[in-house]
Amino acid sequence: MRDDFIIGDMTLNSRLFLGTAGYPSPDILRQSIEAAQPGMLTVSLRRESAAGKGQAFWEIIKSFGIPVLPNTAGCQSVKEAVTTAQMAREIFETNRVKLEIIGDNYTLQPDPYGLLEATEDLIKLGFEIYPYMTDDLILAQRLVDLGCDILMPWGAPIGSGRGLNNPYALKLLKDRFPDKTLVVDAGIGAPSHAAAAMELGYDAILLNTAVAKSVDPPLMAAGFAEAIRAGRRGFLGGIIEAQESGKPSTPLIDRPFWHQEKAG
């Protein structure tokens, strides 16, 4: 089944965006990427030691030839996020940026006001914004008004593994922005969570911890890849409406003993 996934100026063959942080070892990270065959890999920037740890990591990522999505993870102000995005653009040579401004350290809830301000600044600087956001409808509208074609609402707090806390709000975003690219970013724990989001019509899933911290990351990566494909096909196939009562799937007419009269 041909189902091209066009996002920005790219055509991707996977709707899984995989994070690269928190794996037990570089080799497990490599195996997980091989198993997942993700459409994109998320990366970050951190202070570099003169020993050059970051250079070795980057060699692994580059070897796959998979597009990268740099993030502004951990930024708590517009200024930090804008500067980080500019540094990321120079290093990773892409205008894409997963724009993340944390508003609350307990839930890691994104700051919607800072997000809007930084989005406006970065679009002026030529960036393609992948906004990490809450599932608020009005926030989504404001981001679209600023020029965002991609929306990335959270399923649940980062790293929580809770899945989709508010499927109603996620579905509402899909209903109201049918032409935008919608990605659930954060909070996914199990492959079934990812499949559920895809069944709602979401275009892709961004996840990290659910794979990196699982018992067997490469196996889990493969499981997520399959679940996302299954959920996508479920959406495209058109899921039946739930009914209150049972309906026999096997025709009843002419079954054996059909309307058989009791022997007198």
């Binding site: 970050s44 920037l45 003169a50």
Partner: protein
């Protein structure tokens, strides 16, 4: 002249530019990006930007991210 590089104090005997700082601190030739006092410094400007006392320099590199 005293500056901070990635949060660590560094005493410089003479005034230098960003390019010289990267060489002197072992980052020369590495894939890094630089900010000074919160502002991004494009690599094309390394030779033109002279450090000042109390500058706060950030030097970052690719890292794992989610």
């Amino acid at each position: 002249m005293n500056i901070l590089v990635n949060g660590q104090p560094l005493a410089l005997e003479k005034i230098i530019n960003v390019e010289a700082l990267l060489e002197e601190t072992g980052y020369g030739g590495k894939l890094v990006a630089v900010a000074r006092n919160g502002e991004f410094i494009p690599k094309e400007s390394y030779a033109d930007i002279t450090l000042k006392d109390n500058d706060k320099i950030e030097i970052v590199a690719p890292m794992q991210g989610g």
